[in-house]
């Protein structure tokens, strides 16, 4: 891990010094334990402030559409900046999605591929340790040595500490790489969509009750939308007034409309990076619902979002033999 950090700093320094990029997007240490924050390095002399560890959870692709946006002050021709991103498997998948949606010019983005062993979920670690965790180190066997706020140390298993999304990750290593940083990577998960299958097995009324219970927690801060790399619309449907898709209050029906709308807009695009789940201050279990969309695009159209640059996004394409099972015949 430390080794990867050194290689990343060197790669960032090389890219900046050679003028190949203007900005390197990575992480720096956060002000809280087990946290990092996004870091935009524009000068090779500060490349050493970049860090790489098991707490680099955020999906950095979320910043790209704004970094590649043409400033309003520029008239006429404009060439986009060159930007490098330290990308884990999920970040790289998001970047591929953004390239396909023409939000990121392929020629202007440099993907620094960082193989990933699964990131630590501080909430999970705190819950497993029974109190706030102040330090956390991965041991050789995959277990974690954690130190809690009262000064005790203990060993926690990998699945007690690593984020749910990472435990179910199929693509821990980036699919495309412009600069490769060598390092250890976890094995792709064996079991897929376990939670969605379990939920599907319930009765519809029970599912609806659970869905309502989760959505009722929503305070409409829109953090899920802000954290999502796919949510780059200049004007979000939920804030439009013509048409007025949903009221502005906390009416359960309006909450439903926002969440159904936001999630359905991820159909065929969601890479399950879990940025929305991490961002949610009310701990809404959004993954349970978005997982269905990922499962459906894979089962119906054989499409895995962000897996390759070449295949068409599934809802922009069609086949003559697409599923007709949902059609009502009189």
């Amino acid at each position: 891990m430390h080794d990867m950090e050194t290689k990343l700093r060197k790669a960032a320094k090389d890219l900046l010094e050679s003028g190949k990029v203007e900005t390197v997007v990575g992480f720096q240490n956060g002000s809280l334990p087990l946290r990092t924050r996004p870091h935009f390095v524009r000068d090779a002399s500060v490349a050493d402030t970049l860090v790489w560890n098991r707490f680099c959870t955020n999906n950095l692709a979320a910043y790209l559409p704004r970094l590649f946006e043409k400033p309003a002050s520029v008239r006429g021709q404009w060439s986009p900046p060159k930007i490098a991103v330290a990308a884990k498997g999920c970040d790289a998948r998001s970047i591929i999605g953004l390239i396909k949606e023409h939000q990121v010019p392929r020629g202007s983005v440099v993907i620094i591929a960082m193989p990933c062993q699964g990131m630590v979920d501080p909430r999970k670690a705190d819950a497993a340790a029974g109190e706030a965790v102040t330090d956390c180190h991965a041991g050789a066997d995959g277990a974690f040595e954690v130190t809690t706020v009262s000064g005790r140390t203990r060993t926690l298993q990998r699945d007690q500490v690593v984020a749910e999304a990472c435990l179910g990750c199929l693509h821990p290593a980036p699919a495309i790489a412009d600069v490769k940083v060598e390092g250890p990577s976890q094995a792709p998960a064996a079991e897929r969509f376990a939670r969605a299958r379990e939920f599907e097995a319930m009765a519809p009324a029970q599912r609806w009750e659970l869905f309502l219970k989760e959505i009722a927690k929503c305070i409409r801060c829109y953090a899920c939308r802000q954290a999502c790399p796919n949510c780059y619309c200049k004007s979000c449907f939920i804030e439009q007034s013509k048409p007025n898709w949903a009221g502005a209050g906390d009416d359960p029906s309006d909450l439903l409309l926002f969440h159904i709308g936001r999630m359905f807009h991820q159909a065929g695009r969601c890479v399950e990076c879990d940025a929305c789940v991490r961002a949610c201050p009310m701990h809404i279990d959004l993954r349970l619902f978005t997982q269905k969309l990922v499962k459906d695009v894979e089962e119906l159209f054989g499409y895995v979002p962000g897996a390759s640059l070449d295949d068409m996004p599934p809802l922009c394409a069609f086949q003559s033999d697409d599923s007709e099972s949902f059609i009502t015949h009189p």
């Binding site: 159909a267 119906l300 069609f318 007709e324 099972s325």
Partner: protein, 156 residues
């Protein structure tokens, strides 16, 4: 005239409260399903009066949010119908719509929306009979489900 008036009053006096009837919004594509509905009318085919038709240029024009919004505004069911696959006036509008709708229906029913609230079909301009049968079937399905309350916004 006087007789008619009296009769009406008598009927109104003896009648019990009318049975609940579903309100269904049908998004019909201009080129096939809307013309199919027209043919059903011209042919004087009988079908339940529960549908309110909204004419759209193509089934591909139907934003999935229209369907969810209609349910929020209090309709009991939504039907979307377009040209048969391969017959789209815009070549592929209904084929793209097909992918969108299979995802939407599957997602809404996964969340727990009653199966049958949202239905999709294909009706061509020459299928007046199929249109009448379709409306009969969809009305029956939704009548059995009862009033839609799941997404409906209740005014307080």
């Amino acid at each position: 005239m006087a007789d008619t008036h009296t009769t009406k009053q008598t009927v109104a006096g003896t009648e019990s409260a009318p049975a609940w009837e579903p309100r269904i919004v049908a998004f019909l594509c201009n080129w096939c399903s809307y013309a199919g509905a027209d043919l059903a009318g011209v042919s004087r085919l009988q079908y339940p009066a529960n549908v309110r038709v909204i004419r759209v240029p193509c089934s591909g024009r139907v934003n999935p949010m229209y369907i969810v919004k209609a349910l929020q505004l209090g309709v009991d069911g939504v039907l979307v119908s377009g040209c048969h696959p391969g017959d789209c006036h815009y070549i592929s509008g209904n084929l793209v719509a097909r992918r969108k709708f299979v995802m939407l229906k599957s997602f809404l029913e996964y969340l727990g929306l009653e199966p049958g609230r949202v239905q999709f079909s294909w009706v061509s301009a020459s299928e007046g009979g199929r249109f009448a049968d379709l409306i009969t079937k969809v009305s029956d399905d939704i009548r059995k489900l009862g009033p839609a309350k799941q997404i409906k916004k209740e005014l307080t």
